[in-house]
Amino acid sequence: MNEVESGSRLPALEGRELSKRYGATQALQDVSICLERGQVTALAGENGAGKSTLIRLLTGVERADHGVLLRDNVPIRLHTRHDATAAGIFCVYQDQPSVSGFEVYRQTYLGYENHFRRRGLISDSLMRRACSDLLEDLGLSSISPTQRMGTLSPGVREVVALAGVIAVSQVLKVKHPVILLDEPTSALSIEELDFLKSFIELLKSRSAMLFVSHRVTEVLEWADAVCVLRDGRNADFMTREMASADRDRVYRAMGGVHPQGRDGKKTPVDSEAVTAAIPVESSASPDRFSLAGVRLHAHALAFDFRVRAREIVGLAGVEGSGKEEVLRFCAGLSVDGALECATVHIDGRPHRRRLADLLRAGVVYLSGERQREGVFGRLSIAENMAVSRRIASGRQGLFIRRWDERARAERLVSTLSIKVSDVSAPLQSLSGGNQQKVLLGRCLELKPRVMLLDNVTRGVDIGTKASIYVLFRSLAENGVSLILASDDLDELVSVAGRIIVFKGGQLVREFDNSNGDVDPLQILTTMV
């Protein structure tokens, strides 16, 4: 403790100018970070800012294209996760997997049983004793080494996982482990947060810690220093004092407006293709789609959700805010923990909140998990577009007319300007952006009245994005209601006429963007 407070820098893990590229995406560009012993560093940034990539590089899951890693000022190379563990670098994930049937001590020493042998055989009693000593040493005597993991609450499990890091570093004789906490707080209740916080305080003197979080308030409370990433680059670095003196500085860094250029212009997505936002119809017009009393989990406040015809509504919120769940709920899918609300009104008429019924009523959902929940990679482009056809009328017929399917697909391909030579090519042969357009084509084949779109433009290049926005506007003009959940605030402010912000499963704020004058920074501050 004393050596820390003396003010001397003790870099435990340092990354210098780390870069990582995935295909066409530059995930990280010359990012540097330094974790000091005795300190908690927070890693902040929006979705897609590069936080997870950085964690993957620091834990050896992936290797940087450029840049060096230094552990205690010595350069190291991490080829695998095991290399990282051997170097005393550990990561605790937000929902750290554990074997629910295992006792705490078995989980703690899982993979290190060989260090607890008596006459050549693994000894449970040695492990149990070591574990109980450790828990006592860490002030966790309330946790019994023989409790089963499955019986513990998420907060306690997280603390046990952290204690396990200390246990393993003792076994491996690592004096000062580096602990990376990936969103440790997102699933915890307030009491659990306090427990975790005090435990982190306790561990601080023996380790260097990095924790990833979306919640700025937390970042300021817990961390000694804050490192902000934006678009894969270092956006800002500040000490706790600097950050608490100027709270907005964190927001600004996350939102991409650098403190020096306070009034820097927000960059529109494509000013030519996307002009003013869609005007909101007068409130007298009837609701196209409405759901009353939605509650995403038992502790959340209920909210009503209404969308008018011709309206484009944007849903904003950080990861875990519930915006994606709202979409799934509206589509008639079951959402874990959400309280059932059985009826959806479409143009004033009640419908059962069931996927099949809503599809027939023209409610189309396009999942954000394109590969898992959208694409049939090995089926052809034409087949992918045709699969939902005529579901609304219920007259799908027994036989397929392949030539008809082909002709329709070719028409859609030219309407949506999809770059493809032959509609009988398998969908997996297309780029992500074009795959997404094919899926939009499938939605159009359903003759949609309400479109629920989850991060449609994620991983899509700028040009395609612009043409997708044009499509949205013309759909809205033709009477379709669009609900977009997006992590891209610039996108929301330029496309949506109304933006609803979610946080912790609740609706927290609604912005009227009918004049297109909402500032993304304003939205960001209500999100975090």
């Binding site: 994930y93 997997p97 589509a331 996927l355 099949a356 599809l359 959902y365 999942s367 898992r372 929940e373 959208g374 694409v375 049939f376 990679g377 090995r378 089926l379 087949e383 045709a386 699969v387 939902s388 579901i391 799908q396 017929g397 027994l398 036989f399 397929i400 392949r402 398998p426 499938r442 359903l446």
Partner: protein, 314 residues
Amino acid sequence: MTEALRTWLGSVLVIIALIVVFSALQPRFMTVLNWQNIASQMSVLLVISIAGTFPILVGSIDLSVGSIGTLAGIIVALSLQRGGVGGTLAVPIGLLVGLGCGLLNGVLFAMLRAPSFLVTLGTFFALDGLASWIIGGTPIPITDENASGVFDSNLGAFPTIFLWGLAILAVAVLVCRYTRLGRHMYAVGGSEPAALLAGVNVRLVKVTAFLLSGLLASFSGFLLSVHTLSGSPGQNATLLLPSIGAIVIGGTTLSGGVGGPHRTFVGVLLLTILINGMQLLAVDPYLQLVVEGLVVIVAVIMSRERVSVFTAVK
């Protein structure tokens, strides 16, 4: 070129190679009589393999095809033995049995959401036991000659049993390529969540795949009974593993969504020619099994259907 297509092309090349090698080594191989023999030998395997292709296409598996065949074959033999109304209705009765078993599998699997591997492992044992129990373990001879006249004689140069197999193949290919049901089977096998969100009735598609499987499995049992002129305990059970082998050799992947009956045909042809050729060359029967096993393994390697240990880990 996709991996499955490569497997399929590979199998065709292997078939050509086999024909060349066997013709060179054994003059009796390339005769009309032997090819009639091959055609007739492959028919029952072809029908039961097509049956098994449907559940595999939707990403499941039906291990009970052999048992369903046995049960249907025995019930058909019993009906024919009785004669009269039972005799004329033998075929429909057998097929109804198959549909019933398929429905049982489908309902247990799709409605109760039990894994198909386990459900059909259960019905595999249960139906096989039921079949043996019905006849007390002794084979039922078939003396009725009408059935063999229609299903197991020659039409010109072609064995009728083979023509029946081809007819089933044609219908199966039609279902897969030109009906909405077929398309939806590929969608469900390709990605179940995506199919669900696209509005496909996933459960119905799965149940139908098992219905088709049961129906065709019972037909294969019927063909075998007519061919051997008896309904015997466990008669179709030995065909289960060769049928899965044939499906995989053809290029229908066990993960679902790729392949189809037309490919299964190639797999069946390959296996049958291989066995026939080895028999003509008087290869030791035990060694034949070793060769068959190796061929299946090679086919799996060529289709690259391997699961990475690391895909499950974050």
